[in-house]
């Protein structure tokens, strides 16, 4: 048997159906005529001959069908017939079809949207060739953070410090000592730098890359050239490769951009190439626009004590990736080969703060997603969103299954006729499944459209408006395939209750009018189970909505220790290439003075870290009058003279900073209450000194939230910025009235000091605080929306089943009332049935809620996952609405006229 010939005959019969038909007919006609001719020749009368031929050959239609069947077309023919029939049935009840397809499109669309997001966080890879051959290096050390200075991501999980930041000398040593990577390359994301094109300055993000980065990533610029090892030499003229988006925005894709000189942080840089649009740098969720060699760091982005990080073994900032030949060695082998040179390089240059046990060791991790520390941030919210969206789909399915069951009750006769006429159970089941699949696939198409149009909605909700896109989603073939698969599963899921019901059906009772036998009762049972399921899922969603809403309002109501209303914040980052640290101090002083004079400004200040912006700085805290404790740490912030007045933080003891606290005067600090309690229990801290700098404590202020709203105010000390050399600072401006126009005056004021300094990330302090609540807000929003949706669907479900019950029992109710049952008793009887369903649903829902809520306990604030208020209010709402839905048919039952009811059949 050749597969090819079969395939050919199969496809030709599918696509040339008309031709096949007419050929078959011609062939049979020929056969028929021949046979008749033969019979007449043997002396049979023509009339009789034709009759006999017809009898022996059978009808043309039967012959054709048999032949098509032997071509393997039977399944196809039946499928086509089923689809046609299903489509006709749907057309006959357009309201049902619209509700069904709409609710499925909603359920599937929600899942498509969430999947698109989940895929970008969990599955998507860098768009470079063979991303699976990429590795990223990280290190892990003991519990105490061992490095003197780290610029980059760092976490302490499970009693160990993790980071993917290395020093440049270590990178150089590793590159020289290993041949296991072809090649080992390095990069650093720079979230903020100033690009000036044709005199217009804007704040952009960029990436510093080693000379072999383009070779290692295998990126070929679409225009010009990439950065090469000869560019990555200190002292050479600075070059840059720009992103496709930057090229389009600032140069309108003009080829003349190549060779053009722009300014990065006010230093001239020559553009040599344009990246392909698919390449978004070595991180999944940032969009760097200018790529420059690492050698540009000392001039363009001076940092650290000497400004040059390339020679500084104590500053850990660089991320290292490598491309490997996966057949050559295992990651374990690479790790052990790299570890010795790594530890040696560390020991030769670094002053490790803690003991020997805390020496860092290298880890080789998969690098197909590049540097990916946002994954850990989003992974839990993503799982919660997936569960929520699956719930929505399940509810939509349950509701639709209910509708389908109701319809199938109406079509019971049709099914019975089919079975009676010899259709096998399988055949009937297949037709039912085809119809559900037809529904779910149409819903799936709607889901794809919905998912496509809302693909950027969630990333938009998650990201902060004044920063570049953090999450990039790709709506690609995988998403379509996922939706297709989901639609098929949904369709099969929908046909299960119908199949179960069909199995129990008895043909003869089905054929009888009405069919009120055992089948009707079991149908009712499946129906009730579905309603109970809906009610319990609704309760879970309502409870979740309660938890997240309460978390959100708890967070909003949490005392933050300062007054955020009417406060504008923005950053100013004077380039070190123009401003030395000392010059930056003078610059900030001048800007503060200028801003304070702007009409409408009440007071102005600045700080090295903005409050409630997921930023914080930690330093050691050593009392000078006590023995040294290496582990003692406290949060700190370098702030302007007016910081406490501007943010209205109370000074509880001592004094605030004033204009006499300058670079040359004695170093002073203000501590918050928490720090006073922690390090000076029962003592007066005023006048005490701490740390090498001998900061003298001059005041105690009230506690304020620092990094986010969730954490308690940490023990914090504040120092005047005039004594600390912080160059990149955030300004806080308190205005007299809430106003957006003042921003323009502020911009002009800053421009009078230096026209090349952009106001970066301007926003109000309240917007800033709100942005840190985006996860909680999304959950509150989605669980509330889903909860209300579920509630509506469950009400329709309970109304439907009670209305059905009432119709079915009209006769019985009539008899009861004729025998003297009062209306209230009838009402109660029907309501009792509704409340039984509701209570079972609520009980199951409570159990499920308590189980699921434990999984989100870390995402809650100010309440337990078993919060009784949220749980009881969800239950009360559900019971009230469900009873209301049941009350309408119950009331109708109680108003039945006994005479009508008795006649009712």
């Amino acid at each position: 048997m050749s597969l090819r010939s079969r395939l050919r005959s199969f496809t030709s019969s599918l696509f040339h159906r008309a031709e096949l038909d007419s050929n078959m007919e011609a062939e049979f006609r020929f056969h028929f005529d021949k046979y008749v001719e033969h019979l007449t020749q043997s002396g049979i009368a023509p009339e009789e001959a034709r009759r006999r031929a017809r009898l022996e050959l059978g009808s043309l239609a039967t012959q054709k069908e048999n032949c098509r069947r032997s071509l393997g077309l039977r399944l196809w023919d039946e499928l086509v017939a089923d689809v046609r029939f299903g489509a006709r049935m749907l057309r006959k009840s357009p309201a049902f079809a619209a509700i069904a397809i709409l609710s499925l499109a909603l359920g599937i669309g929600v899942n498509t949207t969430i999947f698109t997001l989940a895929k970008s966080v969990l599955l998507d890879r860098l768009e470079v060739s063979h991303p699976e051959d990429l590795r990223i290096l990280t290190w892990v050390s003991g519990k105490k953070f061992p490095m003197e200075s780290l610029w980059g991501n760092y976490s302490d999980e499970g009693g160990a410090s993790h980071s993917s930041s290395f020093s440049y000398p270590v990178y150089k040593a590793l590159r020289e000592r290993t041949s296991l990577f072809q090649p080992l390359f390095a990069f650093k994301d720079i979230s903020q730098m100033t690009a000036t094109v044709d005199g217009h300055a804007e704040s952009i993000s960029g990436e510093l890359v080693s000379g072999n980065f383009y070779e290692g990533m295998r990126i070929r610029p679409i225009f010009g050239r990439g950065i090469s090892p000869t560019d990555d030499v200190e002292g050479k003229a600075n070059v840059a490769v720009i992103s496709d988006a930057f090229w389009a925005r600032r140069f309108a894709r003009s080829p003349s951009a190549i060779g053009k000189s722009i300014e990065i942080n006010l230093l001239p840089v020559t553009i040599v190439g344009v990246n392909p649009p698919t390449f978004i740098g070595a991180q999944m969720s940032r969009l760097p626009e200018v790529f420059m060699p690492l050698a540009a760091q000392p001039t363009v982005l001076p940092r650290g004590k000497a400004g040059n990080l390339l020679k500084d073994p104590n500053n850990w900032w660089l991320q290292i990736m490598g491309r490997v030949d996966s057949r050559e060695a295992s990651d374990a082998a690479r790790q052990s080969a790299l570890d010795l040179p790594f530890v040696q390089a560390v020991k030769s240059g670094v002053t490790i703060k803690a003991g020997r046990d805390d020496l860092p060791h290298i880890r080789v991790l998969p690098g197909r997603r590049g540097s990916d520390y946002e994954k850990s941030e989003f992974i839990k919210p993503i799982y919660v969103l997936i569960v929520l969206s699956v719930f929505v789909l399940l509810i939509a399915c349950a509701n639709l299954a209910n509708l389908l069951l109701a319809r199938s009750a109406a079509r019971q006769r049709e099914m019975s006729v089919r079975v009676a006429m010899g259709a096998s159970r399988m055949r009937v089941l297949r037709q039912v499944t085809t119809e559900s699949l037809l529904l779910s696939l149409t819903g799936g198409v709607g889901g794809v459209i919905l998912g496509y149009s809302s693909r950027n909605l969630l990333p938009h909700l998650i990201s902060t408006p004044w920063e570049d896109g953090r999450l990039q989603t790709r709506f690609d073939l995988y998403v379509i395939l996922f939706t297709l698969g989901l639609s098929v599963i949904t369709g099969l899921l929908l046909s299960i209750p119908l199949a179960l019901q069909g199995r129990r059906e008895d043909v003869s009772s089905g054929l009888k009018e009405g069919g009120r036998g055992s089948a009707a009762r079991s149908h009712n049972f499946t129906n009730k189970a579905l309603v109970i399921f809906q009610l319990s899922v609704s309760l879970v969603l309502l409870f979740g909505a309660g938890l997240f809403l309460k978390t959100l309002s708890n967070l909003r109501a949490a005392p933050i220790g300062f007054q955020p209303d009417r406060v504008l914040v923005f950053e100013i980052d004077p380039p070190r290439s123009r401003y030395t640290p000392e010059a930056a101090l003078t610059l900030h002083k001048r800007i503060l003075d200028t801003i304070a004079a702007v009409p409408g400004v009440q007071s102005a200040s600045l700080s090295s870290d903005p409050l409630v912006a997921l930023d914080s700085s930690i330093n050691q805290f050593q009392r000078n009058d006590r023995p040294k404790d290496a582990k003692a740490q406290a949060w700190f912030n370098a702030v302007g003279t007016n910081f406490f007045e501007t943010l209205q933080i109370p000074i509880l003891a001592g004094r605030s900073f004033n204009s006499s606290d300058i670079l040359t005067s004695p170093k002073v600090a203000i501590i918050n209450q928490k720090l006073a309690h922690k390090f000076f229990p029962g003592e007066n801290p005023i006048g005490k000194t701490f740390n090498e700098e001998k900061y003298e404590i001059v005041g105690v202020c009230g506690d304020t939230k620092y990094e986010d709203l969730k954490s308690d105010a940490p023990a914090t000390f504040f120092v005047p910025y005039t004594q600390s050399f912080e160059s990149n600072v955030t300004y806080e401006i308190r205005t007299l009235a809430p106003s957006a126009e003042i921003l323009k005056s502020l911009q002009q004021a800053v421009a009078t000091v230096d026209k090349d300094l952009p106001l970066i990330h301007a926003r109000t302090q309240n917007e800033q605080i709100d942005a840190t609540l985006s996860n909680q807000r999304i959950f509150a929003l989605l669980t509330s929306a889903f909860g209300v949706l579920a509630l509506i669907l469950a009400c329709i479900g309970i109304y439907g089943i009670m209305a059905y019950t009432v119709t079915r029992r009209t006769n019985e109710i009539g008899i009861r009332m004729a025998l003297g049952a009062p209306r209230t008793k009838v009402l109660r009887m029907i309501l009792r049935e509704a409340s039984t369903l509701t209570i079972i649903g609520v009980i199951i829902g409570i159990a499920a809620s308590l189980f699921l809520a434990r999984l989100v306990s870390t995402m809650l604030y100010g309440l337990k996952p078993s919060d009784p208020t949220a749980l009881s209010s969800a239950a009360v709402i559900l019971v009230a609405i469900a009873l209301l839905a049941g009350w309408i048919p119950a009331r109708r039952a109680s108003r039945v006229d006994p005479m009508d009811a008795l006649r009712h059949e």
Binding site: M24, E27, H31, Y35, E56, T62, C67, S70, L71
Partner: protein, 112 residues
């Protein structure tokens, strides 16, 4: 002597054999089988065409439209190389089977 029906599962082989002697149209296949069997085999006319279509679908037969003896268009079936191999394999199987059956059925008690 009455006619006997075609043995279950042997219709394919009969058709392949009939066509192997020269291209035939459907009615010709019917006639030839009856003719070779000396009118002793009766083929259900209803089952002939599904069998022909199946054999063609499996690539053992090929067909062309041509002129019949009285100048009417008819579909002629011929054996493909694949069909020839199939026929030979079927024949060998059949011969082994019929030998075996003959042996078993002619066994007498004293031979055991």
């Amino acid at each position: 002597m009455g006619q006997i029906d075609v043995l279950q599962g042997t219709l394919d082989m009969l058709i392949l054999k009939a066509v192997s002697l020269g291209p035939l149209h459907g009615y010709g296949v019917l006639l030839r089988i009856q003719q070779i069997s000396g009118d002793q085999l009766e083929i259900q006319q209803g089952s002939l065409y599904p069998a022909l279509y199946r054999l063609e679908h499996q690539g053992w037969l090929a067909s062309d439209w041509g002129e019949s003896d009285n100048n009417r268009r008819a579909k002629f079936y011929r054996l493909t190389a694949q069909g020839k191999r199939r026929l030979n394999a079927e024949l060998e199987r059949w011969n082994r089977m019929s030998d075996l059956m003959a042996n078993i059925l002619s066994t007498r008690p004293e031979e055991l």
